[in-house]
Symmetry: C3
Subunit: 350 residues, 3 copies
């Protein structure tokens, strides 16, 4: 079925006759042209809707009327919009197996696999069916890639690491770098051999230039459904539970374990050997230095419960004035003391 | 004109006869050899000038005399120095079109373009005249590169993204990675399709291993003349105004908009959907969680006006002693209360 | 000598007859199979030892008895374990010189050098004997690599930079990017030419996607034995002393100088033109804005002595309650004042 027919069907499923609409794309209200589909969620967007050139705008049931626009009222306009938008996802950038790819004869390449130009596939690699390996990407000896993965360009996956099914790795991601471990031998830092692996579960996405190090021994494990943003660091022997989210530039130090459904915001640091419970939420730039209970919301460096941290910040904002008040109180107390002494002297005189 | 003649001319333009100077390079005072040009700005550098082996040292009009050295007095020694230093910038590392580059026949490569070994140029790419594409760099389908750009090695620019004229992209920079957007569907994070693009203006520089994500819809836009340092994250749908500076390891979350001439220092985090006004200055490691007015100077997490933040930090430093003082005051107050009660009892007795 | 014989000898050196043990690997207690060697350091691990399937477990002299396991008591079980574990380090991933590598005829490649597929070696490069250059890695004109280095895949080392002997560079590391220097010329940021180099000493390790910029003039210098983790930024003209450690996502701004044996923890920012003395320890996420004396331990933003910072944080946690106490004191003082005034009035009446 062609994409335009799919769009047609999707809109008809919303009860719309689309004979008069020729939707060729999806866009924002501001940037839409006369063949674009858009959505608006909040009544406050009515002016933007009025200004938009969009062909058709999905809105909620109670969105205000906007004369001169074609609104389609649906229960959940954002979700409906993105369902249709998904039809516009372009095909993966890499197609077929490029003749310049260096594929070792002992690699096992599945059906319908695409491998980009100048990709390098080592001995003992397995690539599951339907996966795409980007140009310039390196797969080290013994690497296993599941099915239907999209591995971007210039990715490096080092020896013996495993990637699950339906994973997406963005450009420059690095899996299986050595853990950062050294012992001082009296004259220099001796390297602790890094003999483990990194194992990435199914349905994981890893952002541009992010790093997941191999374990010293055993496995650095990223659970099923985990989403990792750009420039994130996951150190050796870390365990990340299922469906956990690591936002950009966050870092998890060695041997720490995050539960399921944790949300780690941007630029968070989690120290080594820390346990973070299921469903915990770590606020932006927090520094976690000890265990976090399940469902807890933490903030600050060192990280503490977010309510406490906000109360402290509010109190801190009052501190400069407080210093003046204390000084004033001190003077008052001293005056009181003098006055009291005089009174006492008077009484004893009496 | 040869470089040595250019140097000759530049020095003569400062009124210097250069017959006795054979300047072959530029350097620091400490590391200069007998054929290097240097500069010194402050009188405090006189000892370093005396120790230097430099052939010639540009100094300000009021720099002290330093016997045994050749000083050239000019109005702005740093600027004059770097004008001459610019003559020593080596040619770009990539020349010609390397036979190992994988260039799609439907790519449009301008005049005098250089393409490095193992670079990969996809269908529909346009590269403007005089641009250099580094070895191992990937340009996805439909990418447009302006004229006179320097794209370093191992850069990844994904489908449909645009780079203006005279841009410099350093190694490992990644343009057009998917925005980080998901919706929870009850059993997992469903990917929000990332259908927009990233558009980089003219005269932009982007540092090593920095990332600019494509928009979910529409455009992630980097304005003309913006300078981005290494390891910086710019998320989906961000707008960065003209001549704004993003220092190393800073991160801008989704849909935030920075004005013109903003300075974002190192390791700053700017939350999503935040507006930062023209000319604002965000101090190192700050965490911006709400809008920042134009020209404001902010510091801390959460970010607040820098004067307030510094006053709070100064007050915080006094807090431990303050706790003792409060305790002491409390005791004094209690003693006063007892004494007062005794007095009151005495008076009522009287 | 085969690896199994080496293991045999190593265990015999500990006084163990190994006839009954066929050690084929090393692992953690939890993940070990029946042919793995493990170690345990603390008595608290006795239960994990009991559960482990390991063939043999190195423990300290005073480790408790654990029935049903084979314990080997040694003085320093961790060190002994990793000495044996080192026998299991696999060979480097890159072997031989791949025909797809683009090696300039004017490059000087030493004996026993391995160069991966699609690596790009420019004119004037020198690679010392026994070094391995990963697939997709770029060495710019005039780059010098010492002997016995392991340069990973997709690394970029730009013109004229130098790497010492026995260095390890992990995937995506970038050496010699331009320093981040600009001057405002009234209409835009003019690039300050970056004419220096980066020079990396012997025995240095640099993590995945980390960046060391070239100097504006002169040299950005990484001392012998320095260990740099992933995603670290080292700016132009920085000097890092011998055996200093930079943990993941830390950043050192331009022209700062770190002494020998400094430890910079994760996500630390060190401002430009700062001196950090030998043996200083900078705690995670600290922001160093002024010089740090040798051996000092610093924490917080702005960084201050760790004891002071912790005292301040403890005091801050008490601040919200303190505000209430101050308010209460204020009321008490005012009451005292009234009572005192009444007394004084009574006395003057008397």
């Amino acid at each position: 079925m062609s994409r335009s027919m799919q769009i047609h069907e999707a809109l008809q499923a919303f009860g719309l006759s689309t004979d008069d609409h020729d939707i060729l794309g999806v866009s924002t209200l501001e940037q839409a042209g006369p063949h674009d589909l858009c959505f608006a969620e909040e009544a406050g967007q009515a002016a933007a809707v009025a200004r938009s050139q969009a062909a058709l705008i999905l809105v909620g049931e109670d969105f205000p009327e906007v004369p001169g626009t074609t609104l389609l009222r649906v229960a959940d306009p954002r979700d409906r919009f993105f369902e249709i938008a998904a039809l516009f996802i372009p095909a993966p950038e890499t197609e077929g197996i490029h003749p310049s790819a260096a594929i070792h004869p002992e690699a096992d390449i599945g059906a319908d696999v695409a491998i980009g130009a100048c990709a390098v596939i080592s001995a003992g690699v397995t690539v599951g069916s339907g996966s795409h390996i980007g140009p310039g990407t390196y797969l080290g000896p013994g690497v296993r890639i599941g099915s239907d993965c999209l591995i971007g360009p210039n990715v490096s996956i080092l020896r013996d690491c495993e990637i699950g099914d339906r994973c997406i790795l963005h450009p420059g991601a690095t899996i299986g770098g050595d853990g950062f471990g050294f012992r001082w031998d009296g004259s220099g830092h001796r390297k602790v051999p890094q003999l483990g692996r990194a194992v990435i579960g199914d349905d994981v996405e890893i952002g541009c230039n992010s790093c997941v190090d191999r374990a010293t021994l055993g496995i650095t494990r990223i659970g099923q459904g985990v989403k990792i943003d750009n420039l994130v660091q996951v150190a050796h022997n870390v365990t990340v539970g299922r469906h956990t989210i690591l936002v950009s530039q966050s870092g998890i130090a060695g041997s720490s374990a995050l539960g399921d459904g944790v949300v780690v915001a941007g630029q968070v640091a989690i120290s080594d050997h820390v346990q973070v419970g299921d469903g915990a939420r770590i606020g932006g730039q927090a520094g976690v230095v000890k265990d976090v209970p399940p469902q807890a919301a933490m903030f600050g460096t060192p990280a503490r419960p977010v309510k406490q941290a906000l109360r402290e910040h509010a109190a801190l904002a009052r501190l400069p004035d407080l210093l003046k008040q204390i000084k004033h109180q001190q003077e008052t107390i001293e005056r009181l003391e003098s006055r009291l002494s005089r009174l006492e002297a008077g009484q004893s005189d009496a």
